[in-house]
């Protein structure tokens, strides 16, 4: 094990992947709590598919991927949130529509230009080789902004997540904070997407929150547990990805699934013990 880790840290691309991935895992876990609790999980899924379309477009135009996809996904976040809040259109159906359409457009662009090659496979399922040096700077800067905003608005985000009508009634602009959550999610998804893959990035948002909710009983403990869990699962996932040469996204998701099952079973067993002792 120490040898494996020493070998791991000797590669610059792994260090880059770990730095960016840790930041993304942290941001995704924090934002995921509100998205899962507010029943907005589908927004993450929708945004990552829009991100795939944007990446395909950037590749065709020979432009820097992050610079093209950040604005496109941010606009999509705004639209998806509007759709989810509107009672007239069925929110989940509309999100499914947008996400599959952007995936389709992305695939068409790719097939007409470069063809379905390994790059495309990497975009869909993730690769630890994805991050270049300039990507790292941009990613770290964006993640730092996401983290700082989340901490500054923590109490407001809690109030809006728990009870939007109360927050609105006592003078908090709930719409603004929903938008903030959606935009921060868009940024996190774009940055994490190439490493985790467009198909798998949304799991980084949903899993840590769902897993920690099995056992944690206060909001603060859910936040701390999700953040830690997300980073630990990401690290183990990258080690596995490196040792067995499997796509990074897939192995991180598999580790998250294992963590979820462990927490789920522990919660079940604890409940049984409490019932017996009561």
């Amino acid at each position: 094990m120490p040898d494996l880790l020493r070998e791991l840290f000797s590669y610059a691309f792994i260090i880059r992947a770990l730095v960016v991935g840790t930041m993304v895992a942290l941001c995704a876990a924090l934002l995921g709590i509100s998205l899962v609790l507010k029943r907005y999980s589908m927004i993450g899924e929708g945004l990552s598919h829009v991100g795939f379309g944007a990446l395909a477009l950037a590749m065709t135009l020979n432009m820097a991927p992050l610079k093209v996809s950040i604005p496109i996904v941010a606009v999509a976040a705004f639209l998806l949130l509007r759709i989810s809040e509107s009672s007239k259109i069925k929110g989940d159906a509309a999100i499914a529509l947008i996400s599959s359409s952007s995936l389709a457009i992305g695939v068409i662009i790719v097939s007409l230009t470069t063809g379905m090659n390994t790059d495309v496979c990497n975009y869909m399922f993730g690769s630890i080789l994805a991050m270049s040096k300039s990507d790292v700077y941009l990613s770290v800067a964006v993640s730092a902004v996401v983290l700082i905003l989340y901490i500054l608005f923590y109490n407001k985000i809690f109030a809006v997540t728990f009870d939007e009508s109360f927050a609105k009634a006592t003078g908090t602009n709930a719409g603004r904070y929903n938008m903030l959550i959606a935009l921060l999610t868009a940024l996190t998804i774009v940055i994490g997407m190439r490493m985790m893959g467009a198909m798998l990035i949304s799991s980084l948002i949903i899993f840590p929150a769902l897993t920690s909710m099995r056992l944690c009983r206060s909001f603060k403990s859910v936040v701390i547990c999700s953040a830690l869990l997300s980073v630990v699962c990401f690290f183990i996932g990258i080690v596995i990805s490196f040792s067995f040469s499997i796509p990074a996204g897939a192995s991180v998701v598999a580790v998250n699934l294992a963590a979820f099952l462990i927490f789920y079973l522990t919660a079940l067993i604890l409940k049984k013990i409490l019932e017996v002792s009561a």
Binding site: L37, F162, A169, G171
Partner: protein, 235 residues
């Protein structure tokens, strides 16, 4: 002194009138029950008082109280049923309107939250998770949160929905105590007409055509009240 003055308020949305020409005045310490059948605009009127929806015409004026100083007990949502937050976190979130743009709560707000938890007799629940509480306990927690947001005016939207008769009675007694002992003005939407006339000193009966606003004892003498209570059919 008048706390709220509502004059000829008409409200609606999507080109449809929900509240038609309602007028009423409340003084500090009043306990108003808003009654009426479904679809007569009770919730819409409450949105108007909370400042979430602007009246089409007429005015809602406040004396000595700002719009964000109202304590509100909304109907519970599905999101809250399994929400992982402890009681203290939920109650403390009621202090948010005191913070403005400042990001974190100070000692003063935390003390205020503890005080209101004690006031509602839920001290032993402070560390418990909101999702593990019974319906009645959850309503008490939300009431404590509402008290953190206000000192003067409490708005309650059908607070006893889903509670059993014992809890219902307890919650009504608690609200009545807050009204009498702390002098907090209460506005409550209620389907429970018997409790409305028992606890409220004023009644606003909303109806699609005609309504009623006045003292409870006058309301008891009206035909619409008797019909609501099920005493005289087609009076």
């Amino acid at each position: 002194m008048k706390l709220i003055h509502c004059k000829n308020v008409t409200m609606g949305y999507d080109g449809h009138i929900a509240v038609n020409n309602i007028s009423f005045d409340l003084e500090q310490g009043d306990y108003l029950c808003i009654v009426g059948e479904n679809g007569t605009g009770k919730s819409t009127l409450m949105k108007g008082i909370l400042g979430l929806l602007k009246p089409i015409s007429g005015q809602i004026a406040f004396n000595d109280i700002k719009q964000n100083e109202i304590g509100y007990l909304p109907q519970q949502t599905i999101v809250q049923k399994d929400f992982p937050a402890n009681v203290f976190e939920v109650v403390l979130s009621g202090c948010l309107n005191r913070r403005g743009f400042l990001p974190f709560y100070s000692k003063k707000e935390k003390a205020r939250a503890r005080e209101n938890i004690a006031k509602l007799g839920i001290n032993e629940l402070k560390k418990k998770s909101y999702r593990d509480l019974s319906g009645g306990q959850q309503q008490r927690v939300l009431l404590a949160r509402a008290l953190c947001a206000t000192e003067k005016l409490l708005l309650l939207d059908e607070p006893v929905t889903g509670l059993d008769p014992v809890m219902t009675k307890e919650l009504y007694a608690l609200i009545s105590k807050l009204n009498k002992e702390l002098g907090i003005t209460v506005i409550m939407i209620s389907h429970d007409i018997n409790s409305a006339v028992q606890y409220g000193n004023k009644i606003l009966h909303m109806n699609i055509k005609t309504g009623f606003f006045g003292l409870t004892k006058e309301y008891l003498a009206t035909d619409i009240c008797r019909r609501m209570m099920g005493g005289v059919e087609n009076a």
